[in-house]
Symmetry: C2
Subunit: 132 residues, 2 copies
């Protein structure tokens, strides 16, 4: 699994792992039932303590991205997120508000924000079949 961490980036290692796995799933590089590396194996690959990877996997499981089974391994979840419609709306509204305030503060209008969002979405989708 292609993951790169920056040990002194300010953002915690386990969080970097979470973000990148989410990205891999969102961009279809990882799909349902794909197996992810064993905790100890990824830990060795990243030169990091196994507990750090375990924590990342645990959070990803809580987010509905992965499913772990003791003795067996960890795989990409087939189901969607474990959140209710209401929770999803609350989460996204919160993020949307933060983005709007930030943009306003930086002098960027709604139209430009929407434009940027669509641009990034395209860049995102373009990556679906590449890489590996």
């Amino acid at each position: 699994m292609q993951i790169r961490i920056s040990p002194h980036d300010g953002v915690p290692i386990y969080q970097q792992i979470v973000n990148q796995v989410k990205y891999l799933v969102a961009s279809k590089r990882l799909v349902a039932d794909d197996e992810v590396p064993a905790i100890r194996r990824l830990a060795q690959q990243l030169l990091v303590n196994p507990n750090t990877v375990a924590r990342a996997y645990r959070e990803l499981e809580a987010a509905g991205v992965l499913v772990s089974k003791q003795g067996s391994g960890t795989r990409v979840s087939g189901n969607g997120s474990p959140y209710s419609e209401e929770e999803i709306d609350r989460i996204l509204t919160e993020r949307a508000d933060a983005l709007l305030v930030e943009a306003e503060q930086l002098g960027v209008g709604l139209d430009d924000v929407v434009r940027l969002l669509k641009l990034r979405k395209r860049a995102f989708d373009a990556n679906e079949k590449e890489g590996g």
Copy 2:
């Protein structure tokens, strides 16, 4: 100044103050040259240590939102953000990507995200003349 903090919300007090002042400015409840409460006064109002408010004001000054002058007071800045076009683009791109990954993860498509964003923007603008 209407600010409410939740001391044990998980998010730091100084950060809550920063967020809310940014919100007040973004929604035009505070405009250029408006004076904000003195550090000690807001601290007393919020039942918080003056240094906590001082830190919030310091960060807001670094973000170009406020301007402090020793002995005089603190006011809303007239100028825009202190960031270059390049930095603004980098900041917003980062946030946009995070939002897209989150939405994808939650099973929400681009169209719905854009719809939500426009909805929130309207709710935002509707508040410009109210409150106080």
